[in-house]
């Protein structure tokens, strides 16, 4: 038996790591990976609460989160490729103009 709060603490720590990565990283791909880390942290709390309340819909929501994350990463990586093509850099500090 593991207390539910342990799962929630793990998910909270993962989310905090994701937020920090989003703030301190300067490589656009690593920033994107931090977003995935945040989504994973949230998924864990979904599954933990589903087990707590005996509601399977929590696991279905995780499925939806994964589908949306897959779509998001496909579009996001395409945008990263487009940015790299026009600017030849992945550093977000140098990507500061909307126009080319």
């Amino acid at each position: 038996m593991v207390p539910l709060s342990y799962y929630l603490v793990l998910s909270g720590v993962l989310f905090a790591c994701g937020v920090t990565g989003f703030l301190i990283k300067r490589n656009i791909i690593t920033i994107f990976m931090s977003i995935e880390l945040m989504l994973n942290g949230v998924n864990l709390s979904f599954v933990a609460f589903a087990a707590q309340w005996h509601a399977l819909s929590g696991q279905v929501f995780v499925f939806f989160v994964m589908v949306v994350a897959a779509a998001e990463s496909a579009v996001g990586l395409a945008i990263i490729i487009a940015v790299y093509r026009t600017r030849e850099t992945l550093n977000v500090d140098q990507v500061n103009l909307l126009k080319l």
């Binding site: 207390p3 603490v9 793990l10 703030l23 990283k25 087990a51 399977l56 994350a69 579009v75 395409a78």
Partner: protein, 173 residues
């Protein structure tokens, strides 16, 4: 007891992977530590009984999405990220902020969330039941996400395709 040990081991692996993601400077190392995080999260899902979610986690997240990331890192030949002034300021405030935030979350959750505990495999989520739920209770969201995925595929193709003019100049040369 065994349940707690397995939870702690894979939880520690998970957090270590997440911290390593932040510490590494080369994106490929960060991507590989993210795979570690996702793999150990799949074990945590199995401990909670969510077998379908664990399988999808390994196949979709650790498999498909991370392969996409590694492909893009190799395609763009991404090197080590350079430290800038902005990133030093962000680290100065970000890392203490993360520690304080994590400690606060942990304290609030451990102090105020009662003593409810979850047994190993508390809520089995076999594919059959999940599929039934998806196609009955969640049919409309499921269809909407399928349209979303279609739009995302088309958007990715349009965004990543080379511009017309670049293709023509390549053919001519």
């Amino acid at each position: 007891m065994l349940h707690l040990i397995i939870f702690s081991v894979f939880g520690l692996v998970c957090v270590a992977g997440a911290v390593n993601l932040l510490a590494q400077r080369h994106p490929i190392n960060s991507a590989l530590s993210l795979v570690v995080v996702m793999g150990s999260l799949a074990v945590e899902y199995l401990l909670l009984g969510a077998e379908f979610v664990a399988a999808v986690q390994v196949i979709v997240y650790a498999g498909a999405i991370m392969v996409l990331f590694v492909f893009v890192i190799m395609l763009l030949n991404a090197g080590e990220e350079e430290r800038t002034k902005g990133s030093r300021v962000a680290m100065l405030f970000g890392i203490p902020g993360m520690l304080i935030g994590s400690a606060l979350i942990a304290w609030v959750l451990l102090e105020h969330s009662g003593t409810a505990s979850v047994a190993a495999g508390a809520l089995p989520g076999p594919p059959k039941v999940i599929g039934w739920l998806l196609f009955h209770d969640f049919l409309l969201p499921f269809e909407i996400t399928s349209i979303l995925v279609l739009i995302a595929i088309m958007g990715a193709v349009v965004l990543a395709a080379r511009p017309e003019s670049a293709q023509q100049t390549k053919k001519e040369s």
